[in-house]
């Protein structure tokens, strides 16, 4: 595809890349703000990388001289609520398994509990799949360590921009978003111990009990009595002190209930991830008050995910459980999924375009607690937008433009 979005400049203006600080307008036959009904012939006005006005063209005048991007449909930048983008690369090359290269940094198998592993030390902003996801509308991703260990490491939220992790971080002050935990068969297969589900839970509990003691000690008024630094304990103590949350991947009903039990015992904030059997436990999940980052809609229905259903999202919606979609982790071909396509499956199975779009925009932002800045198009929000040449969820439509912080990062159709 070499078609480009229609770019018009009302007066003389720079034809190529926009510098931060300029005024830009985006106009769509339909503008989906992400948190309300679509606006026909809508305009999004952008200044200094932020949205300043959104409304019908009749109400929002486009100032003379500004660059205008236009297309059939405009949506907020898509949010991938849980990915391994930038940490699990396109080559699928794992030196620990004998490969000549190494681009699989989402999982370390030297030990089952390693919360000290940081996302910032793993994320490659120039990874090819980051560009692939961006070309298909993803502007923000919650990524980092993946599933497969009791505690595999930390996650972070990034914008799909920049050449370094520092440029990519959604909030430079917040390099740690969650601790990635997994309960289920994969952990049992990846490690000699735990060798069973009860052992897995026992190991996590033991570690959290230690962390609880550490958290108490580090609050000691007497600096001398505080414990020495311990990377593992520091981050787990942050979890128990609710500075960060846990992302607990659990697919089977047993594992989901185990995750709920752990959360209740230790009282930390957490997000249920995967949740293939969620349709069996709607009441329990709702009672636990935990949001769900649902497995990719089209995930392969095998192993712990064998009960996965295209209709789970609709059931979560009906039950009033907050949820968002994700690309998750892929260990072979294709190397990543795209949330745009995963959400399209919800439309295929009867969900409205607006509601399905929310699962990869506004709802994802809310669960990730970044809705103050992204996930919808409103004054004051980051100017992250996607321009389509048709219904965003039709397979045969194209993403023809992507803006992040008001800057066009993609102008070709795919």
């Amino acid at each position: 595809m070499t078609r480009r979005i229609l770019i018009s400049v009302f007066l003389l203006g720079a034809a190529a890349g926009l510098a931060h600080g300029e005024t830009v307008a985006v106009r769509g036959d339909w503008v989906y703000p992400g948190n309300g009904p679509a606006i026909p012939d809508g305009v999004v006005l952008i200044e200094n990388g932020k949205v300043v006005r959104v409304g019908p063209a009749g109400e929002v005048a486009i100032p003379a001289g500004v660059q205008v991007y236009s297309g059939a449909v405009v949506t907020p930048g898509l949010i991938d609520a849980h990915a391994t983008l930038g940490t699990s690369g396109i080559m699928n090359s794992n030196a620990a398994q004998g490969a000549s290269g190494q681009d699989q940094d989402q999982l370390e198998t030297s030990g089952p509990i390693q919360p000290e592993l940081r996302a910032v030390d793993a994320y490659n902003a120039r990874e090819e799949l980051v560009d692939w996801a961006r070309s298909l509308g993803v502007t923000t991703a919650h990524t980092g360590h993946g599933p497969g260990a009791l505690v595999s490491g930390q996650t972070a939220i990034v914008k799909l921009r920049g050449n370094t992790v520092d440029e990519a971080l959604f909030d430079p002050e917040r390099p740690v978003e969650m601790i990635a935990m997994t309960l289920g068969t994969s952990v049992i297969r990846n490690f000699r111990s735990p060798g069973s589900r009860p052992k897995a839970i026992a190991m996590v509990r033991a570690e959290l009990l230690k962390a609880r003691a550490y958290a108490e000690k580090r609050k000691n008024a007497d600096v001398e009595k505080r414990p020495g630094r311990d990377l593992k304990m520091e981050i787990l103590a942050d979890l128990l002190d609710k500075k960060i949350r846990a992302l607990v991947t659990a697919q089977t009903a047993t594992d989901i209930l185990g995750a709920i039990r752990l959360g209740q015992e230790f009282g930390y904030d957490w997000v249920l991830d995967g949740a293939a059997d969620a349709h069996q436990l709607l009441a329990e999940i709702k009672a636990a008050g935990v949001p769900v980052l649902l497995h990719p809609t089209m995930t392969r229905a095998v192993g712990d995910l064998k009960n996965a259903s295209f209709t789970t999202a609709a059931k979560l919606a009906e039950a009033g459980i907050p949820f968002a979609l994700q690309s998750g982790f892929e260990g072979y071909v294709p190397k990543t999924r795209l949330v745009l396509f995963e959400a399209a499956m919800l439309v295929a199975h009867g969900m409205s375009t607006e509601r399905a779009l929310q699962t990869i925009t506004a709802d994802a932002a809310k669960i990730l607690r970044i809705d103050g800045r992204v996930g919808s198009l409103a004054a004051g929000k980051d100017a992250d937008l996607v321009i389509f040449d048709g219904d965003p969820f039709e397979y045969t439509s194209h993403v023809c433009g992507v803006l992040i912080d008001g800057v066009a990062v993609r102008e070709q159709c795919r």
């Binding site: 692939w132 009960n307 260990g331 439309v347 295929a348």
Partner: protein
């Protein structure tokens, strides 16, 4: 159009007149938009089926429905031929083992469990004919088997498209090159070695073939029977098709070169970089069955996989099919895979051809399946809308005039949409990447 009307009328009338008993079993499907693939789209069409075969298809006002035929009203629906999947690994039949890199003796027919819910999964995606393949970790991983997903039956024999598996050619031969088939000896350690091992085997087959020919009717002069050589001679004689897993552009040309040397035309499978050698493939008359995925990568060979391959091959004049390679893609979503080639430049008609008649021809079954025309198997799919629209769902799948998937049946819906118990009983499947690495 007039001649079509007469021909259809005569055919239907002849059928009704000749045998009232057969006319009674005729079934007509009226009112749908039909894509026969053999011809242009027909709005408000009528399809008449009898004895498992299509007997008539055309505009409703031009098709005579035999007296006594059961009539189904499909107004508002869209009907397409049953999809033909040239490359699937449903039911996990396995294939060659680690004892050799080239094993023409092993047959998929000896490993298929037709009771696996995986086959209902394929039917729920509109797939009615499959080429059940062994894996790609070998240069030659064995004989594939072509199956009609008839749903009823207890033995794999009930689903074959051949009459006698002991005598007939019931499938193709799976070959591969590139990195998948490399390993420690006896597996090759390089591309050139891969080609040399394959050539060596085909030369042996040529010699075996010569001995058989020289023996003529003198049984005493026949070489000792060799199962592998028998299958390879079928390839040399053009009776067994080679299905060649090949991704990188140069590996694809190596497969073409091998075919040229030994006088066969392979079907290239996956073809991740086939667009790069489209002109060469066109010149050699080699077709390509693409696996269409959501992103590139996952292994070195798939770094450059692109949706545009289909268009580039079409532009060059190469026959294109689209396969599932299930579990790489989900058999329920084959229409969706093809839609991405429309996204990247194919017309919907071309994409539909790539799911039906084109793959049927790649299996040597083009005279029997892949399009809706009189005399062909009555395999078709009833959709709720246009084939490549996101909101279109498979409502019914029919094989040889029998309904084998119905979205309104709870057991069928469970497999179509997934859910508790949908895939129980498929055995322990362990996939690459399932453990998060």
């Amino acid at each position: 159009m007039k001649s079509l009307r007469i021909a259809v009328g005569l055919l239907a009338a002849g059928l009704a007149g000749a045998s009232p008993g057969r006319a009674e079993e005729a079934v007509a499907f009226r009112g749908a938009t039909v894509y026969p693939v053999a011809g242009p789209r027909i709005p408000n069409a009528t399809l008449v089926v009898s004895g498992g075969k299509v007997v008539a298809v055309g505009p409703t006002d031009a098709v005579v429905i035999p007296p006594g035929a059961v009539v189904h009203d499909l107004t508002g629906r869209v009907v397409i031929p049953g999809l033909v999947d040239t490359h699937t690994h449903l039911s996990g039949a396995g294939g060659a083992d680690q004892s050799t890199a080239l094993d023409p003796t092993v047959r998929q027919i000896d490993g298929v469990d037709i009771r696996s819910p995986q086959f209902l999964k394929a039917l729920s995606g509109g797939i009615t004919t499959v080429n059940q393949m062994s894996g790609s970790g070998h240069l030659m991983s064995g004989q594939t088997v072509y199956l009609k997903l008839r749903r009823a039956g207890t033995r794999v024999e009930d689903w074959l498209l051949c009459a006698d598996p002991a005598k007939d050619v019931c499938g193709g031969m799976k070959m591969a090159n590139g990195t998948n088939s490399m390993g420690d000896p006896p597996f090759p350690g390089s591309r050139a070695k891969s080609a040399a091992l394959a050539r060596d085997l085909f030369i042996k087959a040529q010699e075996y073939q010569k001995k058989v020919k020289a023996a003529g009717k003198d049984a005493g002069k026949l070489p000792d029977r060799d199962l592998g050589m028998d299958a390879l001679v079928e390839i040399l004689e053009g009776r067994r098709i080679v299905h060649f897993h090949s991704h990188r552009h140069d590996d694809i040309l190596t497969a073409v070169r091998l075919g040229k040397e030994f006088g066969f035309t392979p079907v290239i499978h996956h073809g991740s970089e086939s667009g790069r050698v489209a002109a060469e493939l066109a010149a050699a008359g080699v077709p390509v069955s693409l696996t269409v995925v959501d992103s590139p990568g996952g292994k070195e060979e798939a770094l450059h996989v692109r949706w545009e391959n289909a268009k580039e091959l079409r532009d060059a004049g190469v026959a294109v099919a689209i396969n599932t390679d299930d579990w790489i893609t989900d058999s329920r979503l084959l229409l969706r895979s093809a839609a991405y080639t429309v996204r990247a430049g194919l017309s919907p008609e071309e994409a539909l051809l790539a799911l039906t008649l084109a793959p049927a021809r790649m299996l040597g079954l083009g005279d029997r399946v892949g399009s809706l025309e009189p005399g062909k198997d009555a395999d078709f799919v009833v959709l709720s809308g246009e084939p490549f629209a996101v909101r279109s769902l498979v409502q019914e799948t029919w094989v040889e005039g029998k309904k084998v998937f119905d979205r309104t049946e709870p057991a069928d819906l469970l497999v179509a949409d997934g859910g508790t118990g949908a895939f129980d009983g498929i055995g322990e499947v362990h996939l690459d990447g399932e453990d998060g690495r």
